[in-house]
Symmetry: C2
Subunit: 426 residues, 2 copies
């Protein structure tokens, strides 16, 4: 089913806001077999919205709009949809009740303008908005076409997508049920995943999508069949074989983040963690603590940017720093041990490296990073050579360190992945 996205909002056209809705919508629509062919952004101006909406409806089977559903005068989307589709606006009682409830719950007086949001084009269904007052719209049109309108606020848009739009699109597919699985991987490059997929001879009925981003690749499998059960039966053996082939490179599924998975493993095993960061400057711990409830397993971190902090706070022997330099495997290991000790944590992880743009040498180039890990019994280190600018190197180093914690916790620290990057034990 070819679809087009129409995002409406002057803040997009002025460049004040980055359009993150478009990528999210394209990804989620893909999971139910809807292929996004074009994304268009226009300002809130009625002419611009009208022209773009007519164009989109002339080409696509499904048109999904975001934005312009609020109560203010520059929210024109519903008016324009009514005009373009020749379906007059009418009060949708359920939507009006929801707007009233929203105000009552917050002890605020209902403003008459707010009820504008409850007027929908005739023939349309209001999609409840659990986070705001503007409902979404599901409007079937002639010759099997469909128009969907959602608010522009990302959280509201996502809530209506998950609760109403995706389930309805699945049902609408009628005899074809679409199921999909996303495996999230780290430490394996796109080309290697492609080789594995070729070797596995994935049946043609399964659509494969690869989504690479800085040393991580998401692999999405999508199957269409006459029933959801049939689609799952088609998908599951392939998913199993792919998981086996990818091994420990798979860190999660769906919308899992690496830091959530690391947190879940730490909780399971009742382990706390302390971090010693140099080149990443706090980024590893920032990501670990983005997970709600992370105070149960994150003890803290020492960001040892200056060398003195490495020996004064982390207790790295000065002889080690003098002999090997701050960016070295022995110092990474000593920092990991120091983090455990100074922060009184079960596990210590450490990073030291050269984020650039300056500070590199022929011997130790920009992008060289050592990761240390200690659990008290053994202490290991890894050497990485990363590419990219300063923030790309910091991001990749942080992800690699989170992955070291994960692999050690699942007992795969000496795995294929680790060996390839020359894990050393002492």
């Amino acid at each position: 089913m070819p679809a087009e996205l129409l995002t409406i909002g002057s803040e997009l056209l002025s460049g004040a806001t980055v359009n993150t809705n478009a990528a999210y919508l394209a990804r989620r629509l893909g999971e139910v077999g809807v292929a996004c062919r074009r994304q268009v952004a226009v300002a809130d101006a009625p002419d611009a919205v009208g022209g773009a909406l007519r164009d989109a409806l002339s080409r696509a089977e499904i048109v999904l709009t975001t934005g312009g559903l609020g109560p203010t005068f520059d929210d024109v989307t519903m008016d324009i949809i009514a005009q373009v589709t020749h379906r007059p606006l009418a009060l949708a009682p359920m939507a009006a009740a929801a707007v009233r409830r929203f105000y009552t719950k917050r002890h605020r007086r209902l403003q008459q303008a707010a009820l504008r949001q409850a007027y929908l084009p005739s023939g349309g269904t209001a999609l409840p908005n659990p986070l705001g007052t503007a409902p979404g719209l599901w409007l079937p049109l002639e010759v099997g076409r469909l128009l969907i309108a959602l608010p522009g606020v990302p959280a509201e848009m996502r809530a209506i997508m998950e609760r109403s739009v995706l389930p309805r699109l699945r049902r609408r597919n009628g005899r074809t049920a679409i199921e999909s699985r996303t495996l999230r991987t780290i430490g394996i490059v796109e080309l290697s995943i492609e080789a594995i997929l070729r070797r596995l001879r994935v049946p043609r009925t399964i659509d494969i999508g690869l989504y690479p981003h800085l040393r991580m690749v998401d692999v999405r499998l999508t199957a269409a069949a006459s029933s959801a059960r049939e689609a799952r039966r088609c998908l599951e053996p392939v998913e199993r074989r792919l998981r086996r082939a990818l091994g420990a490179a798979v860190y999660g599924a769906g919308e899992d983040t690496l830091e959530e998975i690391v947190g879940a493993r730490l909780l399971e095993r009742h382990r706390t963690i302390g971090v010693a960061e140099s080149c990443t400057g706090g980024l590893v711990t920032d990501r670990l603590t983005n997970v709600p409830g992370s105070s149960r397993y994150v003890r803290g971190a020492i960001v040892a940017y200056a060398n003195e902090v490495k020996w004064r706070v982390l207790g790295v022997p000065r002889t080690l720093l003098a002999r090997h330099g701050a960016v070295s495997a022995p110092v990474a290991r000593a920092m990991a041990q120091g983090a455990r000790r100074a922060l009184d944590a079960d596990l210590g992880v450490a990073l030291t490296g050269i984020a650039g743009p300056s500070g590199g040498s022929a011997d130790k180039p920009v992008g060289l990073v050592f990761i240390g890990f200690s659990d008290g019994r053994r202490t290991i280190s890894q050497r990485l050579q990363l590419l990219g600018n300063r923030t790309a190197i910091k991001t990749q180093a942080a992800q690699a360190a989170l992955n070291v914690i994960r692999l050690q916790l699942i007992g795969r620290g000496g795995s294929r992945l680790g060996r390839r990057r020359s894990v050393r034990q002492d």
Copy 2:
């Protein structure tokens, strides 16, 4: 001058990549008086690109494309531009020489396919790409229209924009010169800035744009006149009055970041900084160390997530923790002093708060954050009540802490901004 953006790339349509280029381009084009009316994203498919390009050229005076300029078979942009504009491709000798130089410098053998990138539609000018092999294209068309094609890689696209496209667009304006200034502010809300602007009675010849994002607002002033000098003469008095009215809320101009400004102030005053973070989990130090060369003034940080780390490593008196709780002004102040001491830094800044979603109480709700600052002579604290989800609270708290450092360094710590948030001294 109305313009349309056409971003080309299958990764945008699948949702694998968020389209950050569009916002950047819209913002920079606005600075030279080019108003972006529509943004369209299509896949690399020749039909899709051709259709979208024809549509855009039928509506806009300037069409700017990004993506599809590389050497591989799915890079179709130049071919399609040649077809749609009826201008056959021809080898551009300067562009070919640049491609050859790129390979020679990297000691790599020139692949014949790479030379594809040096073929441009006749009548077009190659815009040098300092970071890659694919040049940009500047192609004047009939009736004053203009087509610009840039690579999709953000760094390359930006480099060509700054070096070639923006200066050329300024010149192209001919008798109307456009000048703009962006003032970046923190700690003042959009509504207050609007009130100030009304009070200043900004002349109508100056266009004003406000770009708010999490407690920071960029204010852009744009003037058009018969010469650049005239435009600046129109702009400068307004900029001066606005700067005076906004006072210390203005932290920078143009593309300055808050962390760059804090770094520049620290360097100027030969001061080093140490950070103690609790609720922000390392984010403040991550941002400080995103600035190249920050190792000259960042000593490091203690992320004291667990209470024990607050007294063991930072030396916060246990009685203070017991009496006031970890999230309190006295603890923030003691943490700032502890950061100075433990990290041997001239200045110490500290954050302690409740990032949520759990951990709040009626007394100390989610979003309550205390910032401490110490320069050895005096130690102060600020209380903030922030709104939003966990990452929004972390981000706002980090920005506020960076701003405290800045205000203290410029001697404005006891300013309007500070007082409003109840600075306490001890």
